[in-house]
């Protein structure tokens, strides 16, 4: 890890202490700009009217859910291959955040679908893949919860994440194939072949805002995870603190 030895949790916590406020401030600013652009400068879509504004949170959320999973995959490699001590902390911290972004993508996709397709849920190839990804996130979080020892849980989750990462393109392909196979009517493509700059810019700004939000939350969650491990270690020490059994074993002990 080059100059900054992030492997040492204490130094990592100090780094987070310094970086976090700035990151959070920047995130708020970019969010404000993005929201303003999404609502005021971006024109309405000739077909969908104002509902296109939902795209400004739906698409970034979907991107984020994919980005977060790839970060978890990289962390899993860190755990298994490079044995980086903070890798499984990063992976475990990222899972709930990834699940939340996937949930947002699903909800906004469904709310966007209602005015466009008339029903809240359509088994569209992209939405379905995001749903499968959501189940994979929840599965990973459940796997972490079932194991007591964080090191063992980290390794198991790393393997599952990598297997999932390898499978994602396969799932995407098969869902597309499954979708076109059964598809009665062609679904209106969500984003046109070329997105008009006045819509593309707010989209990119919102994507940047979401990414910043992810890193803020990820650092905070990682910090929690490190503190949780310290707490566990200290509790083990506390239990092992062999207080001398009370010497005075008086005969009437049971009275």
């Amino acid at each position: 890890m080059g100059i900054l030895d992030l492997a040492n949790p204490t130094r990592f916590l100090r780094l987070v202490q310094i970086v976090l406020p700035w990151l959070a401030g920047l995130c708020v600013i970019v969010f404000a700009a993005g929201l303003y652009m999404s609502f005021f400068t971006a024109p309405e879509d000739y077909q969908q009217g104002a509902t296109v504004r939902i795209m400004f949170i739906h698409v970034p959320a979907a991107w984020l859910s994919m980005m977060c999973y790839s970060i978890m995959a990289i962390s899993s490699l860190g755990t298994l291959v490079w044995k980086h001590p903070l890798a499984d902390v990063s992976a475990k911290a990222a899972a709930p955040i990834g699940a939340t972004f996937t949930f947002i993508a699903l909800v906004t996709g469904s709310l966007w679908g209602k005015p466009m397709w008339g029903t809240y849920w359509v088994w569209d190839a992209r939405l379905t893949s995001v749903l499968v990804l959501f189940i994979m996130y929840l599965g990973l979080m459940a796997l972490w919860r079932t194991m007591e020892d964080p090191i063992k849980a980290g390794k198991a989750a790393a393997i599952l994440t990598l297997v999932g990462a390898v499978n994602l393109p396969v799932i995407k392909f098969s869902v597309n194939w499954w979708n076109t196979l059964h598809q009665p009517a062609s679904v209106v493509r969500m984003d046109g072949p070329t997105i008009h700059p006045t819509i593309l810019i707010p989209l990119l700004v919102m994507a940047a805002a979401f990414t910043l939000l992810f890193f803020v939350l990820h650092l905070m969650a990682m910090r929690n995870e490190i503190l949780r491990r310290r707490l566990r270690a200290m509790r083990l020490k506390a239990a092992a603190q062999a207080r001398p059994a009370s010497a005075a074993l008086s005969p009437q002990a049971a009275e």
Partner: protein, 64 residues
């Protein structure tokens, strides 16, 4: 800024997104507060974290 006939859906999706993000943020902050409280309580009982004696070199995990 007219949100057109389907404004309900637009507002709903933005509100739900804000709700989800806030829920996550609150969960992380609450988790942090609980961890700090537990750590403080243990520190009170005199369980100190062992200082890593040797200077850290390479990927040395935090020996506690």
């Amino acid at each position: 800024m007219d949100l057109g006939p389907h404004s309900g859906f637009i507002i709903a999706s933005y509100l739900l997104t804000a709700g989800a993000v806030l829920a996550l943020l609150v969960w992380v902050l609450l988790d942090r507060r609980k961890l700090d409280a537990d750590l403080a309580r243990l520190a009170e009982q005199g369980i100190s974290r062992a200082r890593p004696q040797q200077p850290s070199r390479g990927t040395q995990t935090d020996r506690t």
